[in-house]
Amino acid sequence: MMEWANRYGADLIQAIITHLYYVLIPVALGFVIAVILGVLLSRVPKISGYILPVLSVFQTIPGIVFVGILFLYVGMVPATVLIALTIYAVFPILKNTYVGLLNVDEKVKEAARGCGMSPLQILIKIELPLAMPNIFVGLRLSTIYTVSWAVLAAMIGLGGLGDFIYRGVGTNNNMLILTGAIPAAILALSLGALVDWIQKRLTPRGLGGKRG
């Protein structure tokens, strides 16, 4: 055990930090892009009925292919990984934001109009808060997916926990595989829990979530 810690300890901490960096930045960027796009698409549900299925096709392109293609154009820089992961992080949040906004009760929106709210006020004060539970479902999915997709960074030699896994697979060293895989799993679970915690803090009691 000590031997393991001595051999991989420093590398492991470095890899976790890199990995986190590959998760948090794409998820944060993806979140902003997705919510904006979700709001825009929800204003034109007729057109969105065609746009969303097209976007979901992109989602089915394997990450490994996409990173590979980007690598050809952008090169062996972290930006390649960040761009790829951001694009992947967008879709779950986008879809859930869109669904959440469309599910806001028409009667509630009518009441808001009847009270004299402008469309922007209705969006900010009523629609987004009411879509919040859905948006968080999307955020949670994106976060957990991104932890696993970030493993691909190692494929083009950019570090992260994937490093251990690729090296372990290459050298038939199970210990090495687990050194990458177990922290990655723990990372996914704890980031998921973090999202849940934020959601509980932000969801008003009136939406059925329990506070504190």
Binding site: V108, E110, A112, R113, G114, R205, G206
Partner: protein
């Protein structure tokens, strides 16, 4: 004053409002009623510009509603909808203060107003202000919906079937509360419903619409007595019928109780007392063998005048009031109120006893006139 002038509205070339003209005075409670698709909700929503008319104009206190933008206009007109429409992400207090907040009232003003309003519906501030809508009952939610409309003290409130989703008892209470609030605050309410009971109860004036046209504009009493045409009469159905039959169509036969305890005049007094106690009544109707009316005997008469072993024929009262089957109900009611007797007897042409009319039957008949036939 609200003046609706020559309003026309079409959807896909189909006219839903056809050159509508209507004036609503300050402090009036006007009910728009009619079958679904008659244009009543469309008319209501055009007043606060949730729906824009194709042509014509609406003036509020002489000013066209198009002088302000729609949002500013709606902040000055209260609006209550069916299914409540409270904002689930806001507390009771936040819901009430939506419009004051849009009008940029100060925190103190808003808090004071919330206290005042919750007071009006007997929901103490401390207990209720911080609750979320899903923590309130349906009736309480709709009360808050009404308060939200009242919050910024608008002179006019529009209500679109506000009590449709409530149970009958809660609806009844809320109708009373809203009517009382309207009177005490002196506000103008335009109220859409498809329920004639509600319209009669709430309205100072009822506007009956069908196919985008006003069919009749009258006080509830007037509409009940003289429906303008067949459409109005059919819609009002039982209400109108009950009104017309008051004292005219209603016969003694229609409201008598058919179960009468009778006996014959040769029965002995003690037997009769035994029968009364067995049936838990204090009088018996005396007939001959073929049920022809002879008289009435009560327990008091038997006690004071009866001799044991004598036949009741000797004690009975023979001048007891009777009415004929086809007599107007009025006649029976007059007897009951004038003489203070517990009932009058209903007989047919041959003087055969057919039923009795008690004070209870009288109150039931009156209730059916007032509230419609409850079966």
């Amino acid at each position: 004053m609200i003046e609706i002038k020559n309003i026309v509205k079409q959807y896909n070339g189909v006219p839903v409002i056809n050159n509508l003209n209507l004036t609503v005075n300050d402090g009036e409670f006007v009910v728009l009623i009619g079958p679904s698709g008659c244009g009543k909700t469309t008319t209501l929503k055009m007043i606060n510009r949730l729906i824009e008319a194709d042509s014509g104009d609406i003036l509020i206190n002489g000013k066209s509603i198009h002088e302000l933008n729609g949002e500013k206009l709606r902040r000055n007109i209260g609006y209550v909808i069916q299914q409540i429409g409270l904002f689930p992400n806001m507390t009771v207090e936040e819901n009430i203060c939506v419009v004051p907040k849009l009008l940029k009232w100060s925190k103190e003003e808003m808090s004071q107003r919330t206290h005042e309003l919750l007071e009006l519906v007997h929901m103490p501030y401390e207990e209720n202000a911080k609750k979320y809508p899903n923590e309130l009952s349906g009736g309480q939610q709709q009360r808050i919906g009404v308060l939200r409309a009242l919050a910024a003290k608008p002179p006019v409130i529009l209500m679109d079937e506000p009590f449709g989703a409530l149970d009958p008892i809660t609806r009844d209470t809320l109708q009373d509360e809203v009517k009382a609030l309207q009177k005490s605050l002196g506000i103008t309410i335009i109220f859409v419903t498809h329920d004639m009971d509600e319209a009669i109860k709430m309205g100072d004036r009822i506007i009956f619409m069908d196919k985008g046209v006003i069919q009749q504009d009258a006080a509830p009493e007037e509409m009940l007595r003289h429906p303008a045409n067949e459409i109005v009469r059919n819609f009002m159905g039982k209400h109108s019928a009950a009104y017309r039959s008051q004292g005219e169509d209603m016969t003694c036969e229609s409201l008598m109780k058919k179960r009468v305890y009778t006996t014959t005049e040769n029965r002995k007094t003690l037997e009769c007392i035994e029968m009364m106690s067995h049936r838990e009544v204090d009088s018996l109707v005396i007939t001959d063998e073929s049920h022809h009316f002879k008289g009435v005997v009560t327990i008091d008469m038997l006690k004071s005048e009866g001799v044991a072993g004598e036949s009741v024929g000797k004690v009975m009262r023979t001048d007891y009031p009777t009415v004929h089957l086809q007599d107007e109900a009025h006649k029976a009611f007059d007897w009951l109120t004038k003489t203070n007797l517990p009932y009058v007897l209903v007989v047919d042409n041959e003087n055969v006893v057919k039923g009795i009319i008690t004070k209870t039957s009288m109150s039931k008949a009156l209730a059916s006139v007032v509230w419609g036939d409850q079966g």
